[in-house]
């Protein structure tokens, strides 16, 4: 009995220790860190996603986002139309979104592809994607939070969204 208790306690302690040694927050998501590994670029007219700049010289008259270096882009001043972002590869598969802009507002975000390798991926997408989309509509920018439990999908989503808005500003 004493050995069983000892084994149990030390196993639990060991597992908790292992878990506690890992970082407990996701890496900060910055669209600007996009390393341009896009598999496809939706619009032929799109700027390269790794340019890291929003097109201030374009037709946009407004401030055109909160600045190029911050990694956050707003919808204000974007052209009307539908812009497909780069496919961002994540550990579990590519994530790609298409954003529809009308009158300087994001009116819709379509998910072109998300990881669907197995049942768990789909289960995660089922709750994470609507949440990310509704956050985007509220924020009208890429300044949205990652969804807990769907870190990779969130990162891919935000970066693809960034690339789509970049095109809208081009």
């Amino acid at each position: 009995m004493r050995r069983a208790a000892l084994t149990t306690v030390s196993s639990v302690a060991g597992i908790v220790l292992l878990l506690s040694l890992k970082p407990h927050s996701t890496a900060p998501i910055t669209a600007a860190t996009d390393d341009g590994q896009s598999g496809s670029s939706g619009n032929s007219s799109a700027a390269a996603p790794d340019s890291g700049t929003t097109g201030s010289s374009g037709g946009s008259s407004d401030s055109g986002g909160t600045g190029t270096g911050s990694g956050t882009t707003t919808a204000a001043g974007a052209r009307d139309g539908t812009f497909t972002g780069s496919a961002i590869s994540t550990r579990y598969g590519p994530v790609q979104v298409a954003v529809t802009v009308a009158n300087g507002r994001i009116t819709n975000v379509d998910v072109v592809q998300v990881p669907t390798r197995d049942r768990r991926d789909r289960e995660i997408n089922d709750y994470a994607v609507p949440q990310l989309t509704s956050e985007t509509m509220d924020a009208q920018s890429t300044a949205i939070d990652a969804v807990s439990g769907a870190t990779y999908t969130s990162q891919g989503y935000i970066r693809s969204l960034q690339s789509a808005l970049d095109q809208a500003h081009a």
Partner: protein, 460 residues
Amino acid sequence: MSTTVPTRTAPGASGAAAPRPPGAFLEPGVLLAAVAAGGAGVLALWWTGTDAVVGADGWLTGAGRITGLLAGYTCAILVLLMARVPAIDRGAGTDRLARWHAYAGRCAISLVLTHALLITWGYALTTHTDVLTQTGTLVVDYPDMILTTIGFGLLVATGVVSARAARRRLRYETWHLLHLATYAALYLAFWHQLALGNDFLGNRAARVAWYALYGGVAALVLWYRVLVPLRTGLRHRLRIAAVREEAPGIVSLYFTGPHIDELQAQPGQFLRWRVLARGLWHSAHPYSLSAPPSNGTLRITVQAAGPHSTAFASLAPGTRVWAEGPYGALTGQHQRSGKVLLIAGGVGITPLRALLETLPGRITLIYRARTEAEVAFRGEIDTIAARRGATVHYVVGRPEGQPAGSAWPFHPDLLTRALPDLAEHDVYVCGPDGMAEAAIAAIRKTGVPRSRIHHESFAL
């Protein structure tokens, strides 16, 4: 004198093709170190495959993955311990392997239960559903999970019936049959590990290693628990050549057959005997050789105690028998010094009788029996002792004032009075568990290191 096989024994083929030098065995410490290293490797697999642990669901799922990996690993080790690989068996001893197996079994059941609970809970938190809904989704919608759930049920059921309390109420045969169901359980649960295991997806090396672990263990079981016994049975075609009563209810059986010396049975070892007769063929029971093999003859000595041993003790000459083995580590291979003390209790004399004749050095035998009638081999023992100059103490009955179950005569003072240099001895103990424990405890107090106490429990 002992050859250590340093590596974990490779699956099947190599063990069979190359003739092993007799006596090659794996040191139990090396075996344990290898098992521990494998466990560390499994944890490293989780470590390298995990970037961050975020939120309550991250902690739960992370702990679920760790316990799942460890459960999968422990299950493979469980089976390895019972594969009857000769090098492992002769090193650690069959009884010790069985105890390790039982311990690992309790660990595995705990890990499997914890894994299932934590993963379901963690996934439920992630997807914002309740645990019951998530359980349904996991079982029905995830690949390979229906099979896994069946395997889970089998494994837990076996764990329950194997618990000490339940086992006493079951017939050995029933318990054994249920135990075989765990092979099916492990097979069923294997596939979800690779199909869903976060650390195996996208990690080819890990998948290959996992296949090798399970495939290797399966090959060892198939080889050493099925094919080798079949071959041994067919090749030696043993028959009972003679039957001799040693004491009331204690019978020696002599077996002959072709190529018996190929078995390379060492004094102190046992074989599992399967009588090819109606009602007996389906189970094999372990009995020690009670004499060193000689002139193509094997001898075992059986005390009629349970239904099986009673049936065994009444077999007639000419009966055909299959023997599996030899097994056991109660042999001269582990002797370190030139002085040996043998301690026998009751029918535990059988392997020690064989060792009395063959172990080199100066030998003392303490033979404990409840009654004079229970003393077997008295003539043989006295003859061997006279020839070798060995000392024999028959300790029969119990003096007034020594309650039944007391440690008498195994007291450090009594033992050192009989053998002043006891601390320099190798000690071999075989007898009922209570007596053996008392004897070992007393011997330890006289300063004999554990590594020089060689014990085999009846309860395999």
